[in-house]
């Protein structure tokens, strides 16, 4: 069964360092989402792609976060420089992109910033 892949699964970094997360969606899924989940909270959307285009990045802290999906397939989320408050689970999800279509989630990357 096809699944969303993410790497790394865990990342520990020091503040002011740069980190990058990778996501490979289910083949054929046009829409890709990056969510951030702080401990004790529900996931919150950071950025949404439709193919290679950004649809929604209204909650992405653009001074330090960037995301790309160059060929409309896999995606990278980068944080530079990392801050203590960035410690969270970063979830990637994908969907076919049709109205109310199910989103399939990856296992997430647990980021700890020291």
């Amino acid at each position: 069964e096809a699944e969303v892949a993410q790497s790394p699964r865990y990342k520990i970094t020091e503040k002011s360092q740069a980190v990058a997360f990778w996501c490979d969606p289910i083949s054929g899924h046009a829409t890709l989402y990056w969510y951030r989940q702080i401990l004790g909270q529900g996931p919150e959307l950071l950025v949404q792609f439709q193919d290679e285009s950004v649809v929604d990045d209204s909650q992405l802290p653009k001074d330090r976060f960037s995301a790309e999906r160059l060929k409309g397939v896999d995606s990278t989320l980068k944080i530079q420089p990392a801050e203590l408050g960035d410690s969270a689970m970063y979830l990637c999800a994908s969907s076919l992109g049709q109205t109310y279509n199910e989103q399939f989630f990856g296992p997430g990357t647990r980021l700890t910033v020291l």
Partner: protein, 110 residues
């Protein structure tokens, strides 16, 4: 702005007892509502969605537009139902992003 509220952080019931996980939402338009579940050491996954009107693993959820609620119910809880449950909504004609509640951790005791 859209908001989803799950008032119970933790919910504990005994096996065979009925269970209800509460969800209230605020949105001026017509949202579509979902319940997502995360079992221990597994990924977040869709449990059910209002638009499908289906029952999954014995769970049902009824949309009450008057009370802006979408409570999840099961008449007889099983130990394997123990998990983290998230209520979420998406907006019609929007970017299809999910707005999640903070989640309720359900524990079903033997």
């Amino acid at each position: 702005a859209q908001r989803v509220t799950q008032p119970e952080k933790l919910l504990s019931v005994f096996k065979g007892a009925p269970v209800e996980l509460k969800c209230n939402y605020s949105y001026s338009g017509s949202p579509e509502l979902f319940w997502y579940v995360q079992y221990s050491r597994q990924r977040l996954q869709l449990l059910l969605r209002h638009i499908s009107r289906e029952s999954i693993k014995g769970f049902t959820a009824d949309l009450n537009k008057g009370e802006t609620s979408f409570h999840l119910k099961k008449p007889f809880a099983q130990e394997e139902d123990s998990a983290m449950y998230y209520c979420a909504l998406t907006t019609q004609g929007g970017s299809e992003k999910l707005v999640f509640g903070k989640g309720t951790k359900l524990t079903v005791n033997p």
